[in-house]
């Protein structure tokens, strides 16, 4: 009998304890959730929502668990709070939880805003996980946008315009994820960006917004809808601007990586030659102005890229502007000249002859035989007379008379051409600058002629030099007097 009493007593205590610890009702929890959410207590919101969901999973669930409005809000608050927590901790599990919660909320109540939000989060996760081929997020977000547009009586408001901007930025980011490999052709993201621009342009846009959508439409359309390549190109140019302002190793690497990726994903030959030209320009700039430069490496790189661009220009005949063609020739010529100059300057410190021959070999890359048994440059570029002059120096130093004379003669003619001066008019007032420019060439010419005993050449050059010196000093005298 007492034993029976003890058992009954214990059962009573247990029951009391259970009733004391009994979970709060879903209704009570829901009002607490609302308060916690409004107070932006994200962790508390998630905990309470989880508790509601757990209670609702029990066999005898309370009535609130069957109310769509309650449960869709519980999942929505849970998802949004989980996303906030993800923002603080960057833990991807939280992001996944947030997506699942919002999807559940959307299943219960098809709010397009929720569709946009979980679509956004799905794409964000794909970007973080480097899953560039995961396009479900974009599809869901677009569905959300169309739903919001319909909800808004097919009118665009600021919120929708902002969502369109977010959508475009994500589509672009996803298409370049991961950076160094293309998981998709990029056609889908390009199309989605164009769709978003179409929708945005149906309303009147502020100048800033107009610029935004114009820029991205162009980026999604150019080079055969090559959003990926165009985005890398834009990033390359942006990095290049920074690099020119601050030429350090980091900005140089960043610029080069972006432009190299733009080159890799370029669809047309036109775009390829443009990117190769840009790479050459960047390397040449680094060699000249960089804080931490490795001259030979940069120059060799520049020469390689410029040569590739020129080869494409000659072999594939792309439909490029004259300006771009001239720029390509200029950077190619420049990179060869600078490399020749670099090896030439090494002659002071290293094996002299070897340095000169190296310089000559590099220079010969641009030379082709001419009709009179000599050599001429493959094309005329801005500054081509300088390369002839430097090669003449090389000929002089190596004792190659034929080469030196041929080169200095070409250099002299090129200098006259670039200065737009006729040889017969040298003594009839060509101006101080031009005279000063030409004297350098005449001096080298005379040096070479002296070294190789070319008396008649010296005889011919003497009056020319005299005129140039007179012109140069007379002009300076005139300027002083004025």
């Amino acid at each position: 009998m007492p034993r029976k009493w003890i058992i009954t007593g214990l059962a009573g205590i247990a029951l009391f304890a259970v009733s004391g610890l009994r979970a709060q009702s879903v209704g009570e929890l829901f009002s607490q959730v609302k308060t916690a959410y409004e107070e932006q207590d994200h962790q508390q919101t998630v905990d309470l929502c989880t508790q509601i969901i757990r209670q609702c999973e029990q066999s005898y669930a309370e009535a609130e668990c069957r109310y769509t409005n309650v449960m869709k809000t519980v999942y929505l608050y849970k998802g949004l709070s989980e996303f906030k927590l993800y923002g603080e901790s960057e833990e991807l599990d939280l992001l996944t939880e947030a997506i699942n919660s919002l999807q559940k909320s959307y299943e219960l109540y098809g709010d397009p805003n929720v569709a946009f939000n979980f679509g956004y989060m799905q794409t964000l996760r794909a970007i973080k996980l480097q899953e560039g081929a995961y396009l479900d997020g974009l599809v869901a977000a677009w569905d959300g946008i169309l739903g919001m547009y319909a909800d808004n009586e097919w009118q665009l408001d600021d919120e929708l315009r902002n969502n369109l901007k977010i959508f475009i930025k994500q589509a672009v980011e996803l298409t370049i994820t991961p950076a160094d490999s293309a998981y998709t052709t990029g056609r889908f993201t390009s199309f989605m960006v164009r769709l978003a621009c179409d929708l945005a342009e149906q309303s009147s846009l502020s100048p800033d917004d107009k610029l935004f959508f114009d820029v991205y439409r162009k980026r999604a359309t150019e080079d055969n809808f090559n959003l990926r390549g165009n985005e890398w190109r834009a990033r390359g140019f942006a990095a290049e601007e920074q690099f020119i302002e601050r030429p350090d190793d980091y900005t140089y690497r960043e610029t080069r990586t972006n432009i190299e990726l733009a080159l890799r994903y370029a669809k047309s030959i036109e775009r390829q030659v443009e990117m190769l030209k840009e790479l050459t320009k960047v390397a040449l700039f680094m060699e000249k102005n960089g804080d931490d430069r490795q001259a030979e490496t940069e120059l060799l790189y520049a020469r390689e890229k410029a040569a590739q661009a020129y080869r494409l220009l000659v072999e594939r005949r792309p439909n490029v502007t004259i300006k771009l063609e001239n720029e390509i020739k200029k950077v190619y010529g420049n990179s060869i000249f600078r490399l020749v100059d670099y090896y030439f300057s090494l002659a002071d410190s290293t094996d002299r002859l070897n340095a000169y021959y190296k310089a000559r070999r590099v220079g010969e890359e641009l030379l082709i035989p001419d009709r009179s048994g000599g050599w001429k440059q493959k094309f005329v570029w801005e500054g081509y007379e300088e390369l002839y002059l430097r090669l003449a120096d090389v000929g002089y130093e190596t004792g190659d008379e034929e080469f030196a004379v041929d080169m200095i003669d070409k250099a002299w003619k090129a200098a006259l051409k670039m200065n737009r001066v006729s040889q017969s008019r040298i003594c009839s007032g060509i101006g101080q600058d031009k005279a000063a420019n030409l004297i350098v060439f005449v001096d080298v010419y005379q040096q070479i002629a002296r070294r190789f005993g070319l008396q008649t050449v010296l005889h011919w050059l003497r009056p020319i030099r005299k005129c140039l010196v007179a012109e140069s000093s007379a002009s300076s005298f005139d300027t002083t007097r004025k």
């Binding site: 081929a133 995961y134 396009l135 479900d136 974009l138 599809v139 677009w142 569905d143 169309l146 319909a150 097919w154 293309a182 998981y183 998709t184 052709t185 056609r187 889908f188 199309f191 989605m192 769709l195």
Partner: protein, 194 residues
């Protein structure tokens, strides 16, 4: 005195009744006008979204046959499907607004459904849905003088470097295995069985 009071009372009743009638008429006119506006808005949107369906379809045609394009094709299908569903939704709404729907609306829906069916058939995915769409498209355009697939399209369709002006030609070229034709045969058989 009493008579004139009654007259005044009667005339004020009349005036009230007249203004009520006027108000009702005004409401009627405004209501009808707003219904017409909604109708025309929906019609415009249907046309716009049909063009979007076409755009997506043509974009799918431009996809290269590479492994990378597989996921993109699926994503395009979902976008195309989304637009088609919206065209269908607008049509259903118009059906609710009007006692009878214009054949023009039905043709828009039918064309959208055929594009979706063709997209599925070309990729070999979701053939059941393709059959459903195709059947529904033909049912919708049953009453038109020329069947929707033989009508001249209000736009040009570009696919594989060719221009199509009739859906029938596009179906001939794209549905090489006659999947859509077989759908109709099987549906006829099922209808005959009971």
């Amino acid at each position: 005195m009493n008579r004139s009071f009654n007259d005044t009372k009667r005339s004020s009743y009349r005036a009230a009744a007249q203004s009520l009638l006027l108000l009702l008429m005004l409401f009627g006119v405004t209501g009808r006008a707003s219904a017409q506006r909604i109708e025309s808005d929906l019609e415009k949107l249907m046309v716009k979204y049909e063009i979007k369906v076409l755009d997506v379809y043509q974009e799918i045609q431009a996809l290269e046959a590479t492994p990378q394009a597989i996921v993109e094709r699926e994503a395009f299908h979902r976008v195309l499907s989304g637009y088609t569903d919206r065209v269908l939704e607008m049509y259903s709404t118009l059906e609710r607004i009007k006692e009878f729907t214009l054949q023009n609306y039905r043709n828009i829906v039918a064309r959208s459904l055929i594009f979706r069916a063709l997209a599925y058939v070309e990729s070999g995915a979701n053939l059941e849905q393709a059959c459903k769409d195709y059947r529904r498209a033909l049912i919708l355009s049953r009453d038109s003088k020329i069947p929707v697939i033989n009508q001249t399209l209000p736009y040009e369709v570009w696919a594989d470097g060719k221009v199509y002006t009739r859906l029938a030609d596009l179906i001939d070229d794209k549905d090489e295995n006659l999947v859509l034709l077989r759908c109709m045969r099987s549906s006829e058989k099922t209808r005959q069985v009971p």
